[in-house]
């Protein structure tokens, strides 16, 4: 049965009427119309569905909507300030870092969370933070360089 769930998405308070077992991923994509968050595996193994919940990276495909009641969700659509890209988005947009781009939203949000917690990460720390994120274009070298660049600019 549908229940009301209140949450904040990209700074806007929302009330969604949903079966509480639906995933945060499905609610974002189907009900809120935010399709930047991607389905990749449904088991938390690829990172494509990553969003930030109260600032922490979360696999939205494995998170029932009822679990995020009252929390603040940030998706890729909420990262830029108007026309101004977030520095991590900027670094990922330059130099053709992404190829197909499907892993990008999850990868970028995980990087944002990493750099908030650790503004000057070592390569080993970047790899640890992003190792749960798959990129099948295998753009790992250019993504690593983009994260370094974003960190250096902060």
């Amino acid at each position: 049965m549908a229940e009301e769930v209140r949450l904040t998405v990209n700074g806007t308070r929302r009330t969604v009427l949903s079966d509480p077992q639906r995933s945060l991923l499905d609610v974002l994509r189907e009900d809120v119309g935010l399709t930047g968050t991607k389905y990749g595996c449904g088991e938390g193994a690829c990172g494509a569905c990553t969003v930030l919940v109260d600032g922490k990276p979360v696999r939205s495909c494995m998170t029932p909507i009822s679990e995020v009641a009252g929390q603040r969700v940030l998706t890729i659509e909420g990262l830029a300030r108007g026309d101004r890209l977030h520095p991590v988005q900027e670094a990922f947009a330059e130099d053709g870092v992404l190829q197909c781009g499907y892993c990008g939203p999850g990868m970028i949000l995980a990087t944002v969370a990493l750099l908030r917690a650790n503004p000057r990460p070592t390569d080993a720390e970047i790899i640890e933070a992003l190792n749960g994120h798959l990129c099948r274009c295998c753009a790992y070298p250019t993504i690593l360089a983009a994260v370094r660049k974003a960190a250096a600019r902060r």
Binding site: K38, E77, Q89, G101, R136
Partner: protein, 691 residues
Amino acid sequence: MSAPPVDDLTRRDFLRVLGAGLLVTVVGCEASAQRGGGSREPAPIASRILLGEDGTVTVLTGKVELGQGARAEIMQATAEELRVPVERVRVIMADTDLVPNDGVTAGSRTTPGTVPAVRRGAAAARDVLIALAAGRLGVGAESLTVAEGAVLHPPTDRRVSFAELAALGSSSEALNAAIPEDVTLTPVAEWKTLGVSVPRPNARDLVTGAHRYASDLTLPGMLYGRVLRPPAYGARLTALDTAAAEALEGVIVVREGDFVGCAAPTLLQATRAVELLAKAASWETSPQPSNAELWEHLRAHAEAGEGEDNGVPTALAAANRTLAAEYHTAYLQHAPMEPGAALAEWKDDRLTVWLGSRDPFGTRGQLAEAFGLPAERVRVIIPDTGGGFGMKSGDFVGVEAARLAKAAGRPIRLQWTREEEFTWAYYRPAALIEVQAGLDANGSLVAWDFLNINAGGAAIGTPYAIPHARTQSRRSDSPLRGGSYRALAANANNFARECFMDELAEAAGADPLIFRLAHLQEARLRTVLETAVERFGWAERQASEGTGFGLACGTEKASYVATCAEITVDRERGTYRVERLCEVFECGAILNPDNLLSQVYGCIIMALGAVLREEMLFEDGRILNPRFSRYEVPRFADVPALDVHLLNRTDIDPAGGGETPMIAVAPAIANAVFDAIGVRIRDLPIELPQS
């Protein structure tokens, strides 16, 4: 609130949107768009290039962007020949109502096939604009030049912009002229836009989440689809009770023969319905081959054939020494990040399908055939897609979405789950390779006999000079459905060949590099190999406990690659790590250096997956590891130190670069394992023997 609906332009709307004063007529364009790529008729310029009254240029192509960079290349090619800044070029891709048929996006054909076609169209448009400007200015065409979106007359310092020329009444007819066969293209030495790195055109949309993949599109009234899958390959549905699924709120069940699916207002509801259908279905299964007996199965079912003799049996019999070996490579999944997805809509007697696919016109034909429609009543649109690598299950997902949509009377979006994609799409075929060779008393190769069972013939011919050589590719009864994959069987064939070359070098008492060079006459292949060993420091490598060095090279699709590998082995644990790879790649003149570098990185790391862990496991018609947690593709932590060097041969026509850079990685690593532990590796993925 729901996501914005799809961009539903008809060609007529589309031309209107581009603005009045277009240089083409609607009729001319529709005719060209419908003619398809099989036709030998010369295509009108307007089927390729459109000019807006504001001077913007639109280029039309049937190619698909899967992340490989085709959109940027085509934009560059157009800008180069029309002498406009790249930002002024808009690229419309893969919409069967709008674009010419450029064939399937595969086989590294965009660079050598479509880019020249686009350049010819743009160059022909440039010549037409020069002729129009000559008339307007009353000067000879030879006194005119083109730059920055305008035709210039340097002697009098006059200029006519493309926008002004577009507004001329005569321009429309002029641009409906056929693209001349002998149109002059800009020589490589004069390239300004081609040959340099330009950013990915839609990078901003990718990093903001604004780009809509097929799996993101919505339409008013749309429902989410799911399809009931058999529990195993070869299973047949014998009974089904749909009542429980149909009792779920908002669920529509569709059953047409063996095709069973459902549609619901949310994906979760559709998933619950399909789970109820699965519980209420009875299946009859049949015996299916399993992993454990794969090689025997493929060998036993290989098609018969002898191949040409080429004096090989005689030369083998006369050889001073012969060696034989057998190599295996596993079934692989492409695993693009975006699984197959399609949105289908039936409206006004027309079917429109937005989907991930590599083949817009082929998919249109498949849909037309499936529903008994003439092709012009089907429209296929392929938004830039979330990866392909030889696969987009789209070809099947499109038909499934359209069937559900037809039966439900509503638009349907269907996205395969990862498990469906890993089970019901197709695979890079497993390879069983038998190879035998003979050496003379000097340690030179005199005979070569190479047989690939099941994987195919890509790059099967040896590039080494051997007096008597025979190569054969035979099909077999593949337990899993085989299909194309990045670089196809060139991966397996080059793995076996280059590993065996190391075995032969050892038998001949020669260094693997010197043994190869002694048999290698192809200058381009020699150059990449010699460059790679120099950059890697092959001659200076230091043997030490637990460290191994290997090299390999290869050629396919008019491009050349060499890879050197350094690995470390932990013998106690039976593990190894690829520490360092150096790769040199050459594919003629480079169109976009940054993009090519990305492609080469991607190829190397994707190839690493087949070495480290990737292997589809199956038993009794069931896939045992249909998920990322159990089918482990490369991750950040797997990436070794990479030194990639691109050779730019501006004197040679460009070939594609998104496949061949894969093919020397696995053999270089396997050869390094032998160097470290003295055990030959003949199977991919590589498992070290327990010590």
